[in-house]
């Protein structure tokens, strides 16, 4: 990225505005949903580092990943609302959002569910030469044994997987790179509150994997967003306001932890005029508002609810 490039900021802000919209609509959303507040740096890095052909395994906390990969926020919101709108038709909901055309074939909502599947993606990609596999998971996934099996298997079979652990367990929590290293996987850490560091660390990890066709591991350490604390997320910090980047806001979250404002501050420090930031903000805000509108009005599938519920279960027999 060259100085004054607002791409990174825009990606992160799109993800943030999207989740703010989700939180505003919470009373219309059935069931659980997880927002990505505070994890936007790894999501944006994914969007910037992924090549066409690369596959991505995300998890239940996938909104920012999909937004930054370029998925349509209107389709995502329609799905989160459970509307019978193609392609996911309200069968998936927030936790299973996917976008095959962007490399997200399927999203498992089990903790560590996508981790070993990403090895299979890598196996296929290694044979086809079409790319590498990115695998994003929380620190909790490393409590699951299958994540350890996966690190080991990726080394044994020399699979091109970029493991990205989004660690929001808190400042005092131990680093998780030792676990990857115990299996011989090359590991690094980046600070999720410093988005540019995350982008270059992911670029480096992905480069290693592309060059050697072997796995790499990146731990991105972020603060947990305080709104996640309850059973359902609540927007306790209020909507993000880029103009707060110019000064201390008084909110510990925004002042110290938020990667979006951190990147805004970097840009201001580079001499980018505040107006350009505001212009991006206005565009993104409008974009998400339009998406919300569209999500509510998009035409439902012509099939009946019964048909929607029962189709795509079995393959058409050959």
């Amino acid at each position: 990225m060259s100085a004054g490039d607002l791409t990174l900021l825009r990606l992160m802000l799109q993800a943030r505005r999207f989740d703010e919209q989700v939180l505003r609509m919470a009373d219309r959303i059935d069931g659980h949903h997880h927002v990505s507040h505070g994890l936007e740096a790894s999501a944006a890095a994914l969007g910037l580092v992924r090549h066409e052909g690369d596959l991505v395994a995300t998890n239940y906390r996938n909104h920012a990943h999909l937004i930054c990969l370029g998925h349509d926020p209107a389709l995502m919101l329609a799905e989160i609302l459970g509307r019978p709108v193609a392609p996911q038709l309200g069968r998936a909901g927030s936790m299973h959002l996917a976008a095959p055309e962007l490399g997200v074939l399927y999203t498992s909502a089990m903790v560590a569910g996508g981790v070993p599947q990403s090895l299979g993606y890598a196996l296929a990609l290694k044979r086809s030469g079409a790319g590498v596999s990115f695998c994003l998971f929380g620190d909790g996934a490393l409590e699951e044994g299958v994540a350890h099996e996966s690190l080991n298997l990726a080394m044994l079979w020399a699979l091109p997987v970029v493991f990205v652990c989004e660690n929001n367990a808190g400042e005092d929590s131990p680093s998780l790179t030792a676990v990857a290293e115990a299996h011989g996987v090359r590991a690094a850490v980046a600070d999720g509150r410093r988005p540019r560091e995350v982008v270059s660390a992911l670029r480096d990890a992905a480069g290693h994997t592309r060059d050697t066709l072997t796995p790499s591991f990146l731990e991105v350490r972020s603060a947990e967003w305080p709104g996640n604390a309850a059973f359902f997320p609540k927007d306790v910090t209020g909507p993000t306001d880029l103009s707060a980047a110019a000064a201390q806001s008084g909110s510990p979250w925004y002042d110290a932890d938020d990667p979006v404002l951190a990147e805004a501050r970097e840009l201001l420090a580079e001499g980018v005029p505040a107006e350009r930031l505001q212009a991006v903000e206005a565009e993104v805000t409008a974009e998400i508002e339009a998406a919300a509108e569209h999500a509510l009005t998009a035409a439902p599938a012509s099939a009946s609810l019964a048909e929607v519920a029962h189709s795509d279960v079995w393959a058409a027999r050959p």
């Binding site: 309200g90 998936a92 909502a109 089990m110 409590e143 929607v308």
Partner: protein
């Protein structure tokens, strides 16, 4: 003394009773509140008997099996039933063998509480009915209570019996109110009658029994059909003989199960009833053979609703023999 209490409170009271009565009872689970879990208040009374697990279902379930073999009475509250798949081997291929392989010397009465069925908007991966997979494991008791009294009895039976147990509970039962007599016998019978009538029998399990009850009440009011509704409190060991006895006394029997048909507990009971009582009029109403989709409007096309149960029973009652 009989009181009217919500289902989740009956569950919590049973747990409290077991913790009070037996110092070897330990609870493994997270501090999420009713209706998901049932530790309200009790956790504070016995802080050292509550263990918070990491997200390591296999190790945690297996550790509970080991702890039970070594004399503790662990009860794991796992939350969503599908998390159990990560530690499937523990209750399916370890705990039940302990007594058999030791010639009766050791037992492993570990208790696992999971939330099964479709809770609405849980999504395809969180909504399952593992009771279909668990009913054929010898030595593993499997319960599907449906009322405050039966969840109470089941928790007490699980934590005082000597077999490993899975309680397949249901989020949507949490707020159901009903009578509870804590002093009543906690000898859990395999069937609980929710209402009685002469015109036909509906046999359900867990939430489906409550829905069947609602359907039966409405058929009594609207169609003058007087039905018996029975809940399968115990799925394993199979209660088929008791059901056959009841079925014999009714002109027809409709089985209602939230599971898909193949492997559903209802279908097994029905097959044995059919074998025992050839010519008996039997009908099986299950979830249709698809996933439980996220959107509640889609889900209602899949699992038996009160309306679908009502229509099915009414149509079957009207059919000529």
């Amino acid at each position: 003394m009989t009181e009217t209490v919500p289902y989740w409170e009956a569950r919590a009271r049973a747990l409290a009773r077991c913790l009070d009565a037996d110092p070897s009872v330990v609870i493994i689970g997270h501090a999420t509140s009713a209706p998901y879990n049932s530790d309200d208040g009790i956790r504070d009374r016995y802080p050292d008997r509550f263990l918070t697990p990491p997200i390591s279902e296999f190790a945690v379930l297996s550790a509970s099996v080991g702890a039970a073999s070594a004399g503790l009475r662990p009860c794991v509250f796992l939350g969503t039933s599908t998390f159990m798949y990560y530690g499937w081997s523990a209750f399916v291929n370890e705990a039940p063998h302990v007594r058999y392989l030791s010639g009766g010397q050791v037992s492993a009465p570990a208790v696992l509480h999971v939330l099964a069925g479709a809770r609405r908007a849980g999504g395809v991966q969180h909504e399952h009915t593992p009771q279909s997979m668990l009913q054929g494991i010898p030595g593993l008791r499997l319960y599907t209570p449906a009322t405050p009294q039966s969840i109470y009895d089941v928790v007490v039976a699980a934590l005082t019996g000597d077999d490993p147990v899975v309680i397949a509970d249901h989020v949507l039962l949490g707020e159901t109110e009903g009578p509870l007599d804590e002093a009543a016998s906690t000898q859990t019978g395999p069937l609980e009658l929710l209402r009685s009538g002469d015109d036909g029998l509906i046999v359900g399990s867990s939430l489906m029994s409550q829905r069947s009850l609602e359907a039966a009440d409405s058929l009594a009011d609207g169609e003058s059909l007087s039905l018996t509704v029975a809940n399968l409190v115990t799925l394993s060991p199979s209660p088929w003989a008791e059901v056959a006895e009841l079925a014999e006394r009714h002109p027809f029997t409709v089985f209602v199960d939230e599971a898909r048909g193949p492997g559903s507990p209802a279908s097994y009971v029905m097959s044995r009833v059919a074998e025992q009582l050839p010519g008996e009029r039997l009908r099986l109403l299950c979830a249709s053979e698809t996933f439980y989709p996220f959107a509640p409007a889609l889900l209602d096309e899949v699992v038996p609703t009160v309306g679908r149960i009502r229509d099915t029973v009414l149509a079957f009652a009207a059919q000529p023999r």
